[in-house]
Amino acid sequence: MTAVPSMPPTPVPPSPTGAAPGGGPDRAGSPGRRRRSGVNWWLTALMVVCSLTVLVPLYFTVVTALKSPEDLGGAGFAPPTDPRWANFADAWRLTDFPHAALNSALITVGAVLLTLLTNSMVAYAIARNMHRRMFRWLYYYFVSALFVPFPIIMLPVVKQTAWLNLDNQLGLIFLYVVYGLAFNIFVYVGYLRSVPRELEEAALTDGAGIWTTFWRIVFPLLAPMNATVGILTCLWAWNDFLLPLVILSSPDAQTLPLVQYVFQGQFDTNYTVAFASYLMALSPLVVVYLLAQRWVISGVMRGSVK
């Protein structure tokens, strides 16, 4: 994330193609192609073939998860002769799936909510006081954490969370909120500086306090950034492996990626059940993504431009 300071400071309006892909007018034009020419079918075919690199491993996972151990021979791309749904039941039981999924969900939801609430607030206070030396320093202090790689704090922070009795889900939530701060402050402040202050000033003149102004005016204005920060935090907290691995001490607190790790060690040879388990670990976010993908992609894109 060190690269972020190199981004152009001026905001670029959200693109029409991001919000309404495919349909809208092609504002940006297509490199090297005439504007009014029709669909480029050769390129379409090429892109479809390329997309197989993504789809084939996923297809492979699905068919393997549905096979019986006897079915599992050769390269494994053939569909199962008789889909064995019991694999999922076995995986569900062996990994105590509901428990791990609940932990992951709890940590993710907690991290996302707390991140959105606190980080936007900090960014607002900093962005509106940048002319004051103390807040400017605070900004650089937070953003400089972009350069600190996790391993340098990994060992001390594990000792510290254990000492504070935070080697559990709550501690993880705190850590995601704190470690996301550097990047989030950076994007929030960049965005806030491009937002005109008239609304806020009008509210303040009308007698609204700073808190009211923040909740009623600023926080809603931050919606696009909230989407970006929320999505990135969600992906990170749900998929993260290293932080839960080192922080969580009780097996009760294990998250979905951790359970797969443990599962891998214990049932090394039971591939079909293992694949059912992998599929179950991957599917919640895939389902969410499929339902919200336009929104996810345009959200992430907006975050990258600002």
Partner: protein, 309 residues
Amino acid sequence: MAVRTAHPPDTVAARRPRRVRRRRRVPAAFYAMVLPAFLLFFVFHTVPVLQGVFYSFTNYAGYGEWDFVGLDNYAAMLLDDRIRASYLFTFRFAIVATILVNVLALAIALGLHARIRFRTTLRAVFFLPNVLAVLVVGYIFKYLFGTSLPALGESLGIDALSTSILADPELAWLGVVVLGVWQATAFAVILYLAGLQTIPGDLYEAAAIDGAGRWRQFRSITFPLIAAFFTINMVLSLKNFLMVFDHVVALTEGGPGTSTESVSMVIYRGGFQGGEFAYQTANAVAYFVVIVVVSVLQLRVLRRREVSL
């Protein structure tokens, strides 16, 4: 106290002429907004950083007594074959993966930006790997590399494919590269797409009228104008790949032997399981310096070639 002395005349005076000059006091609400986050950040980030640097000058094993040993840890690192090997693997992996990710992502982004059918669907498909946990995807790739590809190679009679590359100390790192590239390309594609949309279409029309071919248009318009996005992608990818951990745990666990042990992994293993707390913290501090230096150099070089409209 710092608050009172803050007076950059250009910004303050220009924005709120009179009021600010009279009331310099910051409303308490602003302090209340930053204070909790500041405390949490200080406790969970700054303190561990300082502790890490402090421990790196001791011989602390993670428990029991310890003494100051000065720069001994750092000196010992230079002679440590395992650490040297991990740096070699990590850099080789990170450089190759960074280049591949950016070449592929740029190509895919150009394709997705062009006039093709199913653009929305394709875009969704290409972004999909980014929402999947690397660790779990790694297990799937492990099976593909270890069982499926050899079986495929055998049935097709290709000798090179018929053994698992993950079992070959010379080739195992390529498996990690494939997984890393597969997963990381998605995000880079999104960034490049965002960049491509900032280029006005009339530039291409003008270039076409001037007789510029597609390759020339790419070289003279597209690439220079998305240079900022190229920079961010290169620096982000390299930095993230230098921290590689999940990929290695899932695919090879550092093996065969120690041929795919990344620096993060050595720090984790030595620090938690090997009783080398202080030593590996020194390794982490050194690695921090390396990453900062690499990132800053990379930024400098890449930014020099950036242009803007």
